[in-house]
Amino acid sequence: MSQWRIIVADSNDYSRNILKGMLLSSGHLVYEARDGGSAVRLSRSLMPDLVLIDMGIVGMNAYEVAHIIDSDNVAPVILMTQTIQRGFIEEVKNYSVFAYLLKPIDKAVLLSLTEFVIENHKKYLSLKNEIESLKKQIEARKKIEKAKGLLMKVKKLDEDEAYTLMRKMSMDSTLPMEVIAERILTKYS
């Protein structure tokens, strides 16, 4: 089992200590936050592997803390609650990994869910990044195609000649094809 860096954000000293004990005894590094603001600050400065947030945390609202940490890709979050209130499930569905813990917390459930969320969050991030880069590639390809078409029309070239010309411009100016395409598009259209 790996060693993770985990933040436990819970205003209740008693339950925070129990949680801390469970995680420590499994070899994880545990950091504590007693209020919402500290949880956000601690998460931002430590960039931990996981943040556990109790619904009853004081200061900043638990949903807000979770939303910030999750949507800014600081770390995956698991919300902990005693009862499932209205809207709770809908909120958790927005997070990158759908998971929550019901209190009182069972150690075996805690440890398996911890592992589950951290590993799945990694996969989520890598897929997300891959999609981003593919999107960018498609955008670039579109621009290059458009610029090539324009060049063919303006300079009366065939497709290969236009492409060769663009590639030469790119090499001569040591700029990516995409930038060359953008310049052609602004110059001729």
């Binding site: 205003s11 007693r34 209020d35 919402g36 603001g37 500290s38 949880a39 956000v40 600050r41 601690l42 931002r44 400065s45 430590l46 960039m47 004081v58 200061g59 900043m60 949903y63 807000e64 939303h67 910030i68 949507s71 800014d72 927005n94």
Partner: protein, 444 residues
């Protein structure tokens, strides 16, 4: 911000990007941003200038009986917020305020700036302004309320790989860039927890809009980092206050009107007169550029804030400094303003003071290239160097006698402003402060 949108563009982009809410923004007379938020279905109506709000609910606006006001969005100010909110994609439009009869509302600070810019345009000038805005980042306490403890001082996680203040500032810069700002510099300032972000100069109206947007972004991003951003001029006694230096220049026929290569200092007659005007009205102007009780606790010697009414081509201590750059970058830097001011009014009144100098050919006194703080009373007297007001009270008394600044504000805003500021001063004057308790409670 230079991106000119038509109403159709705004509608099209909103649809393309899936905008759900639009915030119609405007400023009250104290420079506090107000919002009327509408769902996307109402955007069409808003762009037809049909959105109304109750003006009597806004500080310093109007009486109950004349409370219906119309918002006219300026489509050039359309921006989609780059941060994710729980309620989906949001955008904003800065608005002008109009009376029901279709005339511009005299109490709208944005209108006041526009009016003064129009005055300048009649003389052939346009105004460019580049602000340097400082602020503090403080921690929040366990209840989520702001404190005056800084991250730097707390240093509670020495082994942490990320400096919280730095990373918050970086995100502010990247967010502002996404919103179309050209950021020139951003750095940690003198005080612990103090930061500065400078963005590129623009025409005065765009800059005032930008300052409003800037403050909003800084506050929101700080909150997302568990920090509280404050533009209070002097939040902690004994450490440097936060200023908002205003780099100003005038353009005429596409050329910088402050530059003259033939002059010994490279400055044109207009530039000297503009400085002359600013110095002449410096005291009354301070009431607008430094509008709070707290502002005057920043204007003390020893903290890089100006105290004396003088100008210099080199030294950084006087009220007006001339940065070394010439040619199209020739400009003057007014160093007294602080970020608690209303940027629309601060720019309008600076411009009016400068233009008064140009119209009446007011030559400024000799520039002072020595450190003024090292001069004694006699030397100051010999050079005829006066001081900025010591308090909001002094500034108010002087403002009441300065027709140029009063005229720049217009009757409506002037009256409301002075009334509110006098009551602010009275409330401060009669309040028993911690300092008094510490000094006198046990002594007497």
């Amino acid at each position: 911000m230079g991106n000119k949108y038509s109403a159709e563009d705004v509608l099209r982009i909103s649809k393309e990007r899936g905008v759900e809410f639009v915030h119609l923004q405007f400023s009250d007379i104290f420079g506090v941003m107000k919002n009327v938020s509408i769902p996307i279905e109402e955007l069409d109506k808003a762009l037809n200038n049909e959105i109304m709000f109750d003006g009597s609910s806004i500080d310093g606006f109007v009486r109950i009986e004349e409370s219906d006001m119309y918002l006219r969005p300026d489509t050039d100010t359309f921006v989609i917020f780059p941060w994710r909110t729980t309620s989906g994609v949001e955008a904003r439009l800065i608005c002008d305020i109009y009376n029901p009869d279709g005339t511009p509302f005299e109490g709208d600070p944005r209108y006041v700036l526009k009016k003064n810019l129009e005055e300048a345009r009649k003389l052939g000038y346009t105004m460019n302004v580049g602000p340097e805005c400082e602020f503090y980042l403080f921690l929040t306490d366990e209840k989520g309320n702001p404190t005056t403890i800084t991250q730097d001082a707390a240093g509670y996680f020495d082994m942490a790989p990320v400096d919280l203040g730095e990373s918050a500032r970086k995100e502010m810069v990247s967010t502002l860039k996404e919103m179309g700002f050209a950021i020139e510099a951003s750095h940690h300032e003198v005080g612990p927890g103090q930061h500065e972000i400078d963005f590129k100069y623009d025409d005065a109206l765009a800059t005032a809009d930008n300052v409003m947007t800037f403050k909003m972004v800084v506050r929101i991003i700080a909150q997302k980092h568990g920090l509280h951003a404050t533009f209070m001029p002097k939040p902690v006694y004994g450490i440097a206050g936060s200023g908002m230096h205003l780099n100003q220049s005038l353009m005429k026929d596409g050329e910088n009107a402050f530059y003259d290569p033939a002059d010994q200092m490279g400055l044109s007659k207009d530039c000297y007169y503009y400085i002359g005007g600013l110095l002449k009205h410096a005291k009354a102007l301070t009431c607008i550029t430094n509008p709070t009780v707290n502002s005057y606790k920043r204007l003390v010697s020893g903290f890089e804030a100006p105290v004396y009414i003088a100008w210099s081509g080199r030294n950084r201590s006087p009220l007006i400094r001339i940065p070394a750059k010439r040619g199209n970058s020739t400009r003057i830097e007014l160093r007294s303003p602080d970020p608690s001011n209303n940027p629309y009014l601060a720019l309008a009144c600076s411009l009016a003071a400068g233009l008064d100098g140009i119209k009446n050919k007011v030559m400024p006194p000799q520039s002072v290239d020595k450190n003024i703080y090292e001069m004694d009373e006699q030397e100051l007297k010999k050079l005829n160097i006066d001081k900025l007001p010591d308090s909001l009270e002094e500034a108010l008394v002087i403002l009441e006698k300065d027709e140029v600044i009063k005229n720049a504000l217009g009757e409506h805003i002037y009256n409301k402003y002075v009334e509110a500021k006098w009551s602010e001063w009275d409330s401060y004057r009669t309040y028993v402060t911690r300092w008094e308790i510490d000094q006198y409670l046990t002594k007497f």
